[in-house]
């Protein structure tokens, strides 16, 4: 079993391509947690998320003819899961003629504020400011933070996943970081 963990994705994709069902198992084991955490941010419904992840891997099996052409499996899976979840919660076609609400798909990103508070020994006042700042981030800012600092995708992949340009990724990220910076600024200017 241990050697399974060491094999690169391409190894299992090749075996999948050759028609081996069981090659799905190590891939699912490898990506399940990160897919779950991304998907649950959109829906919050555990059952729905699990069904979607199942379907994504079943689709991967059905498209095994092309499995070898997948360059980044992680990106491929994240994208597939996102589409699946959004489709399931019926949001893609929602308010189709209403550009105002079209992009309003939620993204619930759980920040570990308690953890940061303890580790950094934040004052209550600063913790409250951090909380407020995070609550004020837009869903796209939350999603970009998730993709960059948790999933560690590169800017090109983030751009495609969020359907924006690489330049917008940079801008959005920059804007988000500036907001967060304002929280710590006093410390560094005065300190």
């Amino acid at each position: 079993m241990r050697e399974n963990l060491l094999q690169p994705d391409s190894h299992w994709l090749l075996r999948l391509h050759q028609g081996e069902h069981d090659a799905l198992a190590p891939l699912m084991g490898r990506y399940y947690t990160i897919l779950y955490n991304y998907a649950i941010s959109f829906s919050g419904d555990d059952g729905l998320v699990k069904d979607c992840i199942q379907e994504v891997f079943i689709d991967l099996w059905q498209r095994r003819e092309n499995a070898r052409s997948i360059l980044s499996l992680k990106y491929y899976l994240l994208r597939a899961v996102k589409n699946k979840v959004l489709k399931s919660i019926g949001r893609q076609g929602l308010f189709a003629d209403n550009s105002l609400l079209d992009n309003e798909c939620e993204f619930y990103y759980e920040f570990s504020i308690e953890g940061i508070m303890i580790e950094k020994q934040l004052s209550d006042e600063k913790a409250a400011r951090l909380k407020k700042l995070i609550a004020g981030l837009s869903k796209r800012q939350r999603e970009i933070i998730h993709l960059k600092y948790y999933q560690h995708l590169d800017h090109g992949q983030i751009a495609e996943l969020m359907n924006i340009t690489t330049q917008s990724v940079y801008n959005l990220l920059h804007e988000t970081l500036q907001r967060l910076k304002s929280l710590w600024r006093f410390e560094f200017v005065s300190g």
């Binding site: 069902h21 069981d22 198992a25 699912m28 084991g29 399940y32 947690t33 779950y36 955490n37 649950i40 919050g44 059952g47 069904d51 992840i53 199942q54 379907e55 079943i58 099996w61 059905q62 489709k87 399931s88 919660i89 019926g90 949001r91 076609g93 929602l94 308010f95 189709a96 209403n98 550009s99 105002l100 609400l101 992009n103 309003e104 990103y109 759980e110 920040f111 953890g115 940061i116 580790e119 951090l130 609550a135 004020g136 837009s138 796209r140 933070i145 998730h146 600092y149 948790y150 560690h152 920059h174 970081l177 500036q178 967060l180 910076k181 929280l183 710590w184 600024r185 410390e187 560094f188």
Partner: protein, 352 residues
């Protein structure tokens, strides 16, 4: 090769290698950054600040127990084996994993017919919620959107509602009695309310009540959500006494019972654009630019007119997004803006 000496706080915080180091990279990262800092002592503060930022963006991942993952793997392997089996012996019905949608599809026609139908599937509503109480009353009709697309319905007063997938709505079978037209919502819906000044239209989504006279807006309140959101497209609505106008969004934090008014992420024009409406300016006093912006988007922009009296703008903002317009204007006049309580506040020291 990256020249970290030129990096500012944000640049570090965005840099892949830097992030890897902060998030607990290996020995090589430690060695590299310690050596670099030793050579660039002036950058200590910048690096420390960038570290703080990256550390404060910590996700709290939900751990999925290994046993659960194994169970899911098992289900998928079963399913693909079954698929292959079917492939060899074609059967009329296709294989669907999970029973959720199949059940939903079976009840769908019933719901469309407007029959009173009590939710008997997986009970997600807590028995004490406002919604559950309303839904169980015989004078009400419950509509459930169990499909996976949007469902449009028309209420007795000809208000039209688009109910999102997975959402449920309950309303009286006629609106003749009572002082208001009340609708109970669990989930998300977009309303286009038929005007009737004598009988306000109210959407009751658990803790919050949205009251309108005639307008269009959406409410999102799934039982498992931690927030309730009301977004206004046209007109004005009142949510527990707070007035919400177009391009504003009211977010209710259920845990803290607090309201926060914000702007939507991409504000749109509230008046239909006319061909001669352009936003091309030449040496235009910035106050007039803000006033025009404010009129087009229905968003209040607060500024000190005395300070801004000498500021002018030369730009073509016709095709920019709302926030980009603000950015460009502020850059031009050396000002900053802040979003406060669903309004834009301009901070400036004036222009020469």
């Amino acid at each position: 090769m990256k020249d970290y000496r030129l990096y500012e706080i944000e640049d570090f915080a965005m840099d892949e290698d830097f992030v890897r180091w902060v998030q607990g990279g290996g020995h090589a990262d430690e060695r590299f950054w310690n050596a670099w800092l030793a050579q660039n002592p002036a950058k200590h503060l910048v690096v420390a600040a960038a570290r703080q930022i990256v550390e404060s963006m910590r996700l709290e991942p939900k751990e999925v127990p290994q046993a659960e993952i194994n169970r899911e793997i098992g289900k998928v392997l079963e399913a693909v084996k079954e698929l292959d089996h079917q492939y060899r012996q074609p059967r009329p019905d296709s294989f669907i994993v999970g029973k959720r949608w199949r059940i939903a599809a079976a009840v769908f026609p019933l719901v469309l017919a407007g029959t009173l139908w009590l939710f008997v599937g997986k009970q997600r509503t807590s028995s004490t919620s406002v919604y559950a109480t309303a839904a169980s009353s015989p004078a009400f009709i419950e509509t459930v959107n169990g499909g996976d697309t949007l469902m449009t319905l028309v209420l007795p007063d000809s208000t039209s509602v688009r109910l999102a997938a997975g959402s449920r709505m309950t309303y009286a079978n006629h609106f003749d009695s009572g002082v208001s037209r009340d609708v109970y919502l669990s989930g998300e819906a977009f309303f286009k309310v038929a005007g009737n000044p004598r009988r306000p239209f109210r959407v009751i989504a658990n803790e919050i009540v949205t009251k309108v006279l005639g307008t269009s807006f959406s409410v999102r309140c799934f039982e498992q959500d931690t927030t309730i959101r009301v977004t206004v497209r046209t007109g004005k609505v009142s949510v527990s006494g707070i007035i919400v106008t177009p391009n504003q969004q009211l977010v209710y934090q259920r845990a803290d019972r607090k309201f926060e008014k914000t702007l939507v992420e991409s504000p749109s024009f509230i008046v239909p654009a006319k061909p001669d409406d352009n936003m091309r300016y030449e040496e235009k006093p910035v106050e007039q630019v803000f006033d025009q912006l404010s009129k087009y988007y229905g968003i209040t922009i607060v500024y000190n007119s005395e300070l801004l009296s000498k500021c002018t703008v030369t730009a073509d903002l016709t095709n920019e997004s709302f926030y980009h317009k603000l950015d460009l204007i502020c850059t031009a006049i050396g000002a900053k803006y802040e979003l406060l309580d669903g309004q834009v506040v301009i901070q400036s020291y004036g222009c020469q």
